[in-house]
């Protein structure tokens, strides 16, 4: 047991570090894109709405793996060569950001129309209504689905092994090939992913608790 861990843990931890970089980098990228595209899709301005819609539909409607191949293997033909890690962060971010945009949009749409009207009747501008009235109510609605997306993104990082990045899954494969201890090795790998998912979900729950803390017993 000790020996098994001594042999395998260091390479797996090295892989885990890359997985974490991809998760955090992709997550930040996704957050920014989700917020921008989610708001743009609700805009009254066509030139904002239209590109956001194309982005969301393209990235939701195509395979993440093919997107990855595209960015890593096809873009160089157009003179754009990105390092593997940057490509990984970008594609994971773009992919989750597209789903996240729908989470943002749907949460904003679920704030009752009366809230906008009450704000307008108080002569608040639409930006202020969005910022001070609608988003604070939409945010708690966004968090549970956002938590699922973050876990989904973390799990998708395994795809990045296909473009030569040695993240956790890739490291496990390398160790298996070298030692053929297939069952315990993949059991350990699954355990690491599982713990990571629990940590991410606990983090989201903390944020949820924080943003709803001022309220009484809101449903």
């Amino acid at each position: 047991m000790i020996e098994f861990l001594q042999t395998h843990l260091p390479p797996l931890v090295a892989g885990l570090r890359v997985t974490l970089q991809l998760t955090v980098g992709g997550g930040i990228c996704a957050l920014v894109l989700a917020a921008l595209a989610g708001l743009a899709r609700r805009s009254s301005r066509r030139w904002l709405r239209w590109p956001a819609t194309v982005y969301v539909e393209v990235f939701r409607g195509t395979s993440a793996m093919v997107q990855l191949f595209w960015f890593y293997f096809a873009l160089p033909f157009f003179g754009v060569s990105l390092p593997a890690l940057v490509t990984g962060v970008l594609v994971l971010g773009l992919n989750s950001g597209a789903y996240g945009a729908e989470v943002v949009r749907s949460a904003i749409d679920h704030v009752p129309r009366g809230q906008w009207e009450a704000g307008r009747a108080l002569n608040l501008s639409d930006q202020r209504i969005l910022l001070r009235i609608v988003l604070p109510q939409a945010l708690p609605m966004m968090l549970p689905p956002a938590g699922n997306l973050v876990v989904e993104l973390m799990k998708n990082t395994a795809l990045v092994s296909l473009i030569t990045l040695s993240e956790l899954t890739f490291a496990a494969q390398v160790q298996r090939a070298a030692t053929l201890e297939t069952v315990p090795l993949f059991a350990l790998t699954l355990l690491i992913y599982f713990v990571l998912a629990q940590v991410l979900l606990a983090g989201v729950r903390r944020i949820e608790h924080y943003v709803t803390r001022h309220r009484g017993s809101r449903a």
Binding site: G114, Q115, R120, A121, L122, N123, I133, R215, G216, R218
Partner: protein
């Protein structure tokens, strides 16, 4: 502020459609400065639409709307944003379903707009808010959350919130219709007090005929997007001229 001749609200030849449905056609209406008007009529006759147009919450397809002389619409052309906000600054509105901001305390519900729109200092806005809450009998609820209030209390907070911007005109859209019967009285009492102690113009959509009778200077009966009959409450309720008014009144206030 406003000359005697200038009405608080003026609708001229207003046409309002939702797609194919025409809700108002060549609609004319005036609310005099300081006047208290009760707007009555069957459900779907366009009463809420009139209030919502006045507050610039709805587009119209033709006609002119003025708020204390400031055009919101001139012959079907909308005012720009700055002018719309200037007109809105004269108006306050209370909705059937309150629309309090659930993520803000009662006090914050009252101070948000004065701070952001009128650039009031926090303590000044709070002081004014407390005074308004006292006026509607809810000063002890300043720190409560909206969801902790009863329907009647919520509506009184909503009234105070609208008053916090010191409007010249108040619009009330069936403000007691969503309330349990035992809470109607406390809200009507607030309206009565406002009507008696202020010179604000008030346009009140209501199904409370007894209240309309004693509250209003003038009652306007609408049906099918048109004013059918208007007059002093004793006349309109006591001796309606139009058959449609009579039918409506016999349905809502059985003998």
């Amino acid at each position: 502020m406003s000359s005697i001749a200038e009405p608080a609200l003026e609708f001229r030849n207003v046409t309002k459609r939702y797609g194919e449905t025409t809700v108002l056609e060549d609609f004319d209406f005036q609310l005099g400065a300081g006047e208290k008007v009760a707007l009555i009529g069957p459900s779907g006759s366009g009463k809420s639409t009139v209030l919502r147009i006045a507050m610039a919450l709805e587009d119209i397809q033709g006609g002119t709307v003025r708020v204390h002389g400031i055009p919101l619409w001139l012959d079907g052309v909308a005012a720009d944003r700055a002018q719309t906000r200037r007109a809105r600054a004269r108006l306050g509105m209370v909705f059937q379903h309150f629309h309090l901001f659930p993520h803000l305390s009662v006090l914050e519900n009252l101070t948000l707009a004065p701070r952001l729109v009128n650039k009031k200092k926090a303590d000044e806005a709070a002081e004014q808010a407390i005074a308004l809450l006292r006026r509607v009998g809810l000063e002890d609820k300043a720190q409560a959350w909206p969801e902790q209030l009863s329907g009647g209390q919520k509506q009184r907070v909503a009234i105070a919130r609208a008053l916090a911007l010191q409007p010249d005109i108040m619009l009330f859209d069936e403000v007691t219709s969503a309330l349990d019967p035992e809470m109607v009285g406390e809200v009507l009492e607030v309206l009565r007090e406002l009507g008696e102690t202020t010179s604000m113009s008030m346009l009140l959509v209501t199904h409370e005929m007894a209240f309309a009778r004693q509250f209003a200077d003038r009652v306007v009966f609408m049906d099918g997007g048109k004013v059918v009959e208007a007059g002093p409450p004793e006349e309109l309720f006591g001796n309606p001229r139009e058959e449609r008014t009579r039918q409506f009144l016999s349905r809502v206030q059985p003998m």
